[in-house]
């Protein structure tokens, strides 16, 4: 492992520049969340100021964004859970059984993810009207499944392919049914994979904006939709926007920190060989 000092040094320098690019907007934005509205924008920028919580007070008390946080939590975790429940067995079958059209089915499933949200939005709009799903969490969960299920199946299949089929076969010889074998023998092995899949899907569902905008009502609108309201036709309320953004980012970051090891392990497990 001969890496020269110069190479190593330049690696640190490049990484340092990159970190600046990532962190400057985030830190500057986070600071703005604590600025009084008169200096949300200013030139030159103000770096030293008396921090205030009035933006948070505004978004949480006056605009009740806690409700949106609740909606986001229900919809994102609900849709990920359902996508996993439906997708994991399908992925397992696609990995284990070779049947006519199994490859085509897989390809077809992942290409479903490419459907532009606008194609989905219109029919759902009508569907919601017919079945009175507008303004329900379930409606949005259903809509999110369009792009979550394909990803779940596609990622999970990668993990199941890795597991030697001898594993559940021997379990089945011992009297387990296939379903039991899947549950008690295979799933524990692919847990990091499930966690990685769940986390990635959670991020997609958590940050989704378009469908939530078109299909959500007051009782179901999510945090990204709430964030967008601070950029009204009238003006941009930067401080309120960044205050909400901190709330949007926090759960994902916390989850990523907690599940960091499983995430990397899971991704490595499924995607390499």
């Amino acid at each position: 492992m001969a890496i020269s000092l110069r190479q190593r040094l330049s690696a640190y320098v490049i990484m340092g520049i990159l970190l600046l690019f990532i962190l400057i907007p985030l830190v500057a934005g986070a600071l703005t969340a604590f600025k009084p509205q008169i200096i949300w924008v200013s030139s030159p920028p103000v770096w030293v100021f008396q921090p205030t919580l009035e933006n948070f007070e505004f978004v949480f008390i006056q605009r009740q964004n806690l409700l949106h946080l609740r909606n986001s939590l229900i919809i994102a975790s609900g849709s990920v859970a359902i996508a996993l429940i439906l997708g994991v067995p399908a992925a397992y079958a696609l990995a284990r059984f070779r049947f006519r059209g199994s490859k085509g089915l897989l390809q077809w499933l992942i290409s479903l993810r490419m459907i532009p949200p606008i194609v989905v939005a219109l029919p759902f709009y009508v569907l919601f009207q017919t079945f009175d799903l507008r303004g329900t969490h379930f409606g949005l969960i259903l809509a999110y499944l369009t792009f979550l299920i394909p990803l779940v199946i596609w990622m999970m299949r990668g993990y199941f392919v890795e597991i030697p089929s001898a594993m559940e076969e021997s379990a089945m010889v011992e009297g387990y049914s296939r379903l039991q074998a899947l549950r008690k023998v295979v799933l524990p092995v692919v847990t990091p994979g499930i966690i990685a899949t769940a986390l990635l899907n959670f991020i997609f569902a958590w940050n989704e904006y378009f469908l939530a905008l078109i299909l959500g009502g007051r009782d179901t609108s999510t945090l990204p939709v709430a964030a967008a309201t601070y950029v009204g036709r009238a003006r941009v309320e930067w401080g309120n926007l960044f205050a909400v953004n901190l709330i949007i980012m926090l759960p994902v970051i916390i989850l990523t920190i907690i599940l960091r090891r499983q995430l990397v392990k899971g991704l490595a497990l499924g995607l390499v060989e």
């Binding site: 200013s42 709009y125 309201t229 003006r235 941009v236």
Partner: protein, 491 residues
């Protein structure tokens, strides 16, 4: 001239008014909530409103009006707030299905045509006849009322906002003796708030000092509908441009339209505005003014409370308002001003039960009535009614109210045809292309042709549809007021 116009009106009225009257069914007199008598006929009921809050003033209204109405009536208000961009499709889908999910709908001035076609709008005249309450429709300027509250001859809504163009400027700059002296020296005349676009160009040039981070003024060139709006609102109308002739032929390839567009998109005019203007929308231009980067600013009436709020603007205490400049007629020397006015109204869903309709009217007549609007004006310095905008006490407290009223009188509404957004987009794109350097006449002519296609596509030429002119619209309002037994000084 006048005689032919009159003849056309009479003819139209003869044909159309009976149709309108026939369509309006009678409503028996009923009792409405009245804080003065303590009448609470709808106590305990629920009223469902589908809504959006695009500009802060709407939120202030709900804060003030709803609290007062709920206290007076004992009615529960239930809101469903949508994003403004998603609301029209929601309403259209609901109406096409004959849905009765909401009692009151938020309807922008351009939307009523398509909702009327779906049979979703309840005419309000019968309710006024049955129980006028505090509604006072004659208390609005007829231009604004015709644009916002009516579609052609029928009264459908109570205005929740009447947005008209306003002109804001920095009083500290204009009253600074050093600036005045410098301007006098440079241009040989006094530094005054500009009355015409040519004056504005001079003053703008004078104040454009990029090294001091100060620019003359600021418009919105950012999105197709913004840019078209600002073009028409401030330059087109006052230059004599109109949207359509009576047969729906678009008028954007006329000399006047080219003239106004060349001025508006010309480099020497753009260079008086802060860098980045090609991408600016409301948020950015407001931000630039409130942070003291521009000397003058063309805005809309709803922005006034924000501009006067010292927590939102660094120049709140030195912000003054004036009428928007116009073009000086070379022959008469008169300044010709005209501007676009727009705004939403609350309308009643025609598909709900008669009892619910009466409840909805109860809310409209009181919450958006004359008394409560005073509360709003006292607190936020904003209002839409003549009585508020001309009230001596209020005007003394908020001098801009007088300018607001003047602007309302000359405000012209957008076409409310269902296809108008598409036409607006085509025209706005042409203006953006002109800003980016394409020849004005070429792009405007192409856009004009595109609008012709859009109108033809909608079947308007085949059906011989008639474009309602500003004068006709005024006449419709006066006719309505006449039928209701009301008098407006403008009629």
């Amino acid at each position: 001239m006048k005689a032919t116009r009159l003849a056309v009106f009479t003819l139209l009225l003869l044909v159309l008014v009976p149709m309108g009257v026939m369509a309006q069914s009678e409503v028996e007199p009923f009792e409405v909530t009245d804080p003065a008598t303590g009448a609470r006929p709808f106590e305990g009921q629920e009223l469902r409103i589908i809504n959006t809050e695009v500009v802060p003033i709407l939120a202030y209204e709900h804060e003030v009006f709803d609290a007062a109405y709920v206290e007076a009536s004992g009615v529960n208000l239930i809101y469903e707030n949508y994003d403004q961009g998603a609301l029209l499709p929601v309403l259209q889908t609901m109406c096409a299905a004959g849905g009765d999910d909401y009692d009151i709908m938020f309807v922008e001035d351009g939307w009523s045509g398509s909702l009327e076609a779906l049979g979703c709008l309840e005419p309000l005249a019968p309710y006024y006849m049955a129980a006028p309450g505090d509604s006072h429709p004659e208390d609005y300027t007829i231009r604004a009322f015709g644009t916002v509250a009516m579609h052609n001859q029928t009264w459908y809504g109570m205005p929740t906002l009447i947005a008209v163009g306003m002109f804001a400027y920095r009083t500290d700059l204009f009253s600074d003796p050093d600036e005045q002296a410098a301007f006098q020296e440079q241009y040989g005349r006094e530094l005054t708030v500009p009355q015409t676009w040519d004056e504005l160009k001079e003053v703008g040039e004078f104040f454009t000092r990029p090294d001091e981070d100060l620019y003359g003024f600021n418009y919105r060139y950012g999105t197709p509908n913004n840019i078209l709006f600002d073009y028409m609102i401030h330059f087109g109308f006052s230059r004599g441009v109109n949207f359509f002739d009576p047969d729906f032929n678009p008028l954007f390839a006329t000399d006047a339209a080219f003239d106004a567009a060349s001025f508006f998109t010309g480099q020497d005019f753009l260079s008086l505005q802060p860098p980045g203007r090609e991408s600016f929308q409301f948020g950015e231009v407001l931000q630039n003014f409130t942070q003291g980067k521009v000397a003058m600013y063309g805005t809309e009436s709803w922005a006034i409370p924000l501009l006067l709020d010292p927590e939102a603007s660094t120049v709140a205490d030195v912000t003054g308002f004036a009428p928007i400049p116009g073009w000086r007629d070379p022959d008469t020397g008169e300044v010709h001003r005209a501007l676009l006015s727009a705004g939403p109204a609350y309308m009643i869903n025609a598909n709900i039960s008669p009892e619910r309709k009466r409840l909805a009217w109860d809310y409209l007549q009181l919450a958006y009535g004359q008394q409560f609007e005073r509360l709003l004006a006292e607190q936020y310095g904003a209002g839409h009614r003549i009585s508020t905008l001309s009230d001596p006490d209020l005007v003394a407290q908020y001098p801009h109210l007088a300018a607001n009223l003047e602007a309302m009188k000359v405000g012209i509404g957008r076409p409310s045809e269902p296809w108008w957004p598409e036409a607006e987009n085509a025209l706005g794109q042409a203006l953006q292309a002109a800003v980016a350097g394409s020849p004005v006449e070429e792009v405007m002519t192409a856009a004009n042709d595109e609008v012709i296609n859009i109108v033809r596509d909608a079947g308007y030429y085949d059906n011989g549809a008639h474009y309602v002119s500003v004068e006709e619209r005024e006449q419709y309002v006066c006719t309505l007021f006449g039928e209701l037994g009301l008098e407006s000084p403008e009629c």
